[in-house]
């Protein structure tokens, strides 16, 4: 069986834990602690190590989903989990003060991974905060990752169908980039 390790990243409160709970077919392993940092996010709890869930695509393929802690002080967990990953869903809370800066910060933080791994950007709370628009997110991605195929989607992490669509878009992107890579390397 082939297994795809997919990361779900993004700032605190973007919906990473919710998205994994929405789609995982196994009980989700969570490492939540009471949030004492209410200045950053007014959530009751926050992920301090990882979330873990699984999805079986078919008899031969399984996705292992790892949710990363959103706070920068847990960056060491990002480094641990990124090694085996082949793709990432980056969730951005569009109601935060500067979602485009969040996007740029994450693209920079995972620059090394993004040289080899695939990416889908999911913009959450897009219905509550219409700006920045998806086109602005796309422009930031295009500037930082020129020539790459990166789907940018509005996403409600509570909606299993939408989250699953983002996952399937990511798998399709991974397969397409692998195929293009093979084509380019063939004389």
């Amino acid at each position: 069986m082939s297994e795809h390790v997919i990361l779900v990243a993004g700032p605190m409160g973007a919906g990473k834990t919710t998205a994994i709970r929405a789609v995982s077919e196994t009980p989700v392993v969570s490492t939540e602690a009471v949030n004492t940092d209410r200045a950053t996010s007014d959530k009751d709890t926050t992920t301090v190590a990882l979330d873990y869930g699984e999805i079986r695509i078919d008899d031969e393929e399984r996705i292992r989903l790892y949710g990363l802690p959103g706070q920068r002080r847990f960056e060491f967990m990002w480094r641990i989990l990124v090694d085996r990953a082949i793709g990432m869903i980056l969730l951005l809370d569009n109601s935060r003060p500067d979602p485009l800066a969040d996007l740029a910060e994450y693209l920079e933080a995972f620059d090394g991974f993004l040289q080899r791994g695939s990416l889908v950007v999911g913009v959450t709370r897009h219905d509550h905060a219409g700006t920045p628009q998806l086109g602005e997110h796309i422009a930031v991605v295009a500037q930082r990752l020129p020539g790459r195929s990166v789907p940018v989607l509005p996403l409600d992490p509570r909606d299993s169908a939408e989250t699953r669509l983002a996952l399937m878009s990511l798998i399709a992107t991974i397969e397409m980039e692998a195929m293009l890579s093979t084509t380019r390397s063939t004389p």
Binding site: T31, V34, T36, A49, L50, R73, F74
Partner: protein, 136 residues
């Protein structure tokens, strides 16, 4: 509610507890009290790692709790990292969202390290100003 790491009374009580731990056990190399979500309340000696160790302690504690839940063995009581040059004991302060992480040198027996860390954690049980830790 004031966060434990921002509450002067909690910080003072935690600093006192670590000083007493060091007095009791000279083999103590380093000790820290951190919140469940990874903020350092106090450490001895002072750390200069920008909170990195506090965050790691919090992550490791949360993973240990998750494993205990997964294995259905109840709430994790303490955790040991045994290394070549010492052992690290982590245990939660009963009733609080606070974790004690203590590094003892390799001359110390594991039994004593566990015992003194338990006494320190128990001593902090009566800390004011923090709420009871959530059930696992």
């Amino acid at each position: 509610m004031t966060a434990p790491h921002r509450d002067p009374d909690t910080v003072e009580a935690c600093a006192r507890a670590l000083a007493e731990l060091k007095d009791t056990c000279p083999s103590l190399v380093f000790a820290s009290l951190v919140t469940d979500d990874g903020f350092e309340i106090v450490s001895s000696p002072s750390s200069h790692d920008d909170g990195r160790l506090a965050s790691m302690s919090s992550s490791v504690q949360a993973l240990a709790d998750a494993v205990a839940r997964e294995m259905a063995v109840g709430v994790s009581e303490y955790m040991i990292i045994a290394a070549e040059s010492g052992h690290i004991i982590q245990r939660r302060v009963p009733g609080h969202q606070i974790v004690l992480a203590a590094l003892f040198d390799h001359h110390e027996t594991l039994g004593k390290a566990l015992s003194v860390s338990r006494v320190t954690a128990e001593r902090l049980r009566t800390l004011p100003g923090t709420t009871t830790a959530p059930a696992a």
